[in-house]
Subunit: 217 residues, 2 copies
Amino acid sequence: MLASQDQSNELGITVKKVNELGYGWVITQHMIDIKRLPQIYERINVITEAASYNRYFCYRDFWITSEDGEELAKMHSVFVLMDQSKRKIARILPELIDPYASEYTKKIERLPEPEKIVADEQVRIKKYQVRFMDIDSNQHVNNAHYFDWMMDVLPADFLMSHSLKKMNIKYKQEVHYDDKVKSSVHIEEEEVIKTVHQIKTEQALCCTAECEWKTNH
Amino acid sequence: MLASQDQSNELGITVKKVNELGYGWVITQHMIDIKRLPQIYERINVITEAASYNRYFCYRDFWITSEDGEELAKMHSVFVLMDQSKRKIARILPELIDPYASEYTKKIERLPEPEKIVADEQVRIKKYQVRFMDIDSNQHVNNAHYFDWMMDVLPADFLMSHSLKKMNIKYKQEVHYDDKVKSSVHIEEEEVIKTVHQIKTEQALCCTAECEWKTNH
């Protein structure tokens, strides 16, 4: 996210400028593939490209590579522009997208939805209250904190013995300061080790995700 | 803390080595003075020195300076060596202190205790459950997270309108995974704007702190 923000700053599309126009960039989906986690003190490259966009959606790719170019992880992300007073998705403004030299396309990508928790499945639940420091410049919980809630609800021994391979996370509704959220997970330990997550406030299903894991050796 | 860890690694006193001997470095007190917070994208220096030690306590100083040497913040910290199986303070081992070329002294520093919350004072309270990611290599909550709990219990408008000038924080008892903690604060807005904090588990008073603030302009 910082790499993307650095690029925006270099192109003059600062958060401040976007906010002054009454908008904020908001992420609606991340699809993450992890081949190998970096080692402690390893030097890595963080690469990002604003790949393409249509009237409402911008598609951006991210990569983490080792110093000699080995791909460690990649991520495909969907950004939208939010009208900060209406709290609704707005059409992409040319002055906020042109500087990226991203490709315009009429096509709306049909990305897979994360699997959902089914009514009678066994789940683990933890509750969290949104903290002041969870809030970002869009006056809502920053995307990274959903990830914290989704990982923390997993049992400690699962977290110690598994590493994340893939994650598909979709953000549906904003979560605000002081909201109480419920993080639920269903764990499937079959051929593929999978966890299915949801984050709910009292009012709404705010975020769903599906993760694939491998066992640590 | 990372600067101090980097120094330890360079001297061959890695966390791994300390753990293998059955010990862990633990912080018992920080005294922080902040003159000016760094600006976004400002380059800063982080400086640390293992100043002196006696049989049980090591005293370490930290500074943050601007690129041209202006002192932005400084911190005086007390470290002890914890026996990881007994969970008790151990005598400082020569092989773990000699490489720092720190000064040996018989004197035990008498640092001021943070002010305490008095029984009938008005307080704000928030409750937290310790998260998996709060735990460090000593198998207890890392010192940084007490700070999160102490800040988060303050009202959002106080946090938006004030900046931290000084903090004296004293760690008394370990907090563990899944523990429930209660963060309490008493706010004094007189000549000096001061907040007095405590972190309690159901069993014990674990941490106290006293902060001094200035109003943002």
